[in-house]
């Protein structure tokens, strides 16, 4: 039903305009192919541009007047920066989950119904059916089914994060972008999220930013290593960890810097 996407990034550069300092390059000339139905994990030291790269796949930099994006970024063959389609429509196909869970100031039910309602003219029963479906998919249904009307913020952090995922997948995107989504959570909750993403990768193309090497070894199909805004290396997990080509990558994997 959902047709997961393949992402092609060509010559992508992202600049921030800083007051009195001119332009600062956050991402420089990246070429990258992200395969369908796999978990691609982006690693690198903090400040290397991981999140910046991730947000560009959602065109989220558009909302910030200080950021400019150059190059091309194709999702399923459509260049999202040069496509004539309205941006909200493009963004719908790409879900983003933040590091810290972000419950909207609404009830649990409405949090998930939100995306459905803004995008579709659908009947109440259909909304309800899809909300339940999304909640079940993230294994949250049993925990919240008798308090759907209470504020989402009252959930635990781990539950909030699963709610965020449910909200993202309720509108049936093709890509899921995850920005260090386990780093604010306790080990048990992050374990649950990891399992969840493995099952979700059957239906979605997942791009996941992480700085925990062990998590990457556990979860990734493909690994991309960024350093200071440039892509140093990328490849399948086994090859990446067993036989890294670049000396920077070797040092990073050996834990010489984080």
């Amino acid at each position: 039903m959902i047709n997961p996407a393949e992402i092609k990034i060509r010559n992508l550069s992202i600049e921030y305009k800083k007051a009195k300092k001119g332009f600062v390059k956050a991402i420089e000339n990246i070429n990258l192919d992200i395969p369908r139905n796999k978990i691609t994990m982006i690693i690198g030291p903090s400040g290397c541009g991981k999140s910046t790269l991730l947000k560009s796949i959602n065109r989220l930099h558009d909302i910030n007047e200080e950021v400019s994006v150059q190059g091309s970024l194709e999702i399923n063959g459509e260049d999202i920066y040069y496509s004539g389609r309205p941006v909200p429509e493009l963004r719908r196909r790409v879900g983003l989950i933040h590091q810290k869970p972000v419950p909207l100031p609404l009830s649990i039910f409405k949090n998930i119904a939100y995306g459905l309602k803004i995008h579709n003219n659908i009947h109440k029963d259909e909304v309800e059916r899809r909300v339940i479906e999304a909640l079940k998919k993230v294994h949250l249904w049993d925990e919240v089914k008798d308090r759907l009307d209470s504020p989402a913020i009252a959930l635990s952090l781990g539950q909030q994060q699963r709610l965020s995922i449910a909200r993202a997948i309720a509108i049936k995107p093709e890509v899921l972008l995850c920005d260090e989504i386990t780093s604010a959570l306790d080990p048990i909750s992050s374990g649950k999220i990891e399992q969840l993403l493995v099952t979700l990768s059957e239906d979605y193309t997942i791009v996941w930013v992480s700085h925990i090497l062990r998590q990457v070894r556990r979860m990734a199909d493909y690994v991309v290593f960024l350093y200071m805004g440039r892509m140093v290396e990328c490849g399948e997990k086994e090859q990446f960890f067993e036989d890294p080509q670049d000396s920077l990558t070797q040092n990073y994997i050996r834990g010489l810097f984080t």
Binding site: R91, L96, H98, L104, G115, I118, S164, L177
Partner: protein
């Protein structure tokens, strides 16, 4: 040495706290005793309109001013709130650039600091230009002008404090700017409502903006173009009266104002708690 200084300063602080609190408590005490007393003596002044010789110590009460305040402050607050929330939304980065918003904020700051009498004079000039007598509608406009910058400031502050993740999240799901703004308003609602109630309080307590613009108003306001009066205005006008009964009514009116203020405060706290349950866990 430094411990001696510490002690001295601490003494001065406690002294200042007392210096602050005493007059304030006294003011409430005086108003309650004087105004409450006047009300107990003659409770009908709350529901009676002035008789023919009202200002000469004759029959009547200040029901007309209560209704006048009510008819002016409520519409003014509603209009001002609509304008204020719209402006506050416009000032966010979704709709305007940092520089443009900066200029508008400068203007808003000036309007916020403008003494209310200037709004009164402004409306009066318009009235003269239109050759219209002071009326309820003019009073509503004056209060709207007075409340608008106040509410805008609070709404702007509250909406600016919405975490940027909320905004990124709704956008990333494909929401438009307007849909995102609606969520931001939801998030900022406790702060916005507090601001609206502060604006309402200012409108309710202000005499300078309406004293020129509403006409003489010694009866119940009959329509938008009829003259009216407000509680603070009659307090000002009757405080110096030669007649005890007229002065007493000023005290009673000021007691009523203070009671209304406490009620507004309670409502404000209630709403704050009610709406912040979606924001704070």
């Amino acid at each position: 040495m430094k411990y001696l200084e510490e002690k001295l300063v601490k003494f001065l602080m406690v002294f200042s706290v007392l210096l602050t609190l005493t007059p304030l408590i006294l003011i409430i005490g005086i108003t309650v005793v004087k105004g409450g007393g006047a009300l107990i003596n003659n409770p009908e002044i709350l529901i009676k309109v002035p008789g023919p010789k009202y200002l000469l110590g004759g029959e009547g009460g200040f029901f007309h001013a209560i209704m006048g305040s009510f008819y002016m402050v409520l519409p003014a607050t509603i209009i001002a709130s609509l304008f204020a929330v719209a402006t506050a939304i416009f000032l966010q980065l979704d709709y305007s650039s940092r520089i443009y918003a900066g200029y508008i904020r400068i203007i808003l700051d000036i309007l916020w600091g403008t003494p209310s009498i200037i709004y009164g004079v402004f409306i009066l000039v318009i009235l003269i230009f239109l050759q219209q007598r002071g009326c309820l509608l003019a009073g509503i406009f004056s209060l709207t002008l007075l409340e608008f910058p106040i509410i805008t400031r609070y709404a702007d502050e509250a909406i600016s404090c919405v975490p940027k993740e909320i905004r990124e999240n709704t956008y990333s799901m494909g929401a438009t700017r307007w849909e995102t703004s609606v969520i931001k308003i939801r998030y900022a609602l406790p702060g916005i409502i507090a601001g609206i109630l502060i604006g309402l309080g200012r409108g309710l307590g202000d005499a300078a903006a309406v004293i020129f613009t509403t006409g003489t108003g010694n009866s119940l306001p009959g329509g938008l173009l009829q003259s009216a009066t407000a509680l603070p205005v009659i307090i000002y006008q009757q405080a110096n009266s030669f007649y005890v009964s007229v002065r007493d009514q000023a005290y009673a009116a000021s007691f009523l104002l203070i009671v209304l203020f406490f009620i507004i405060n309670v409502i404000s706290r209630h709403f704050y708690a009610k709406f912040s349950k979606y924001v704070k866990g």
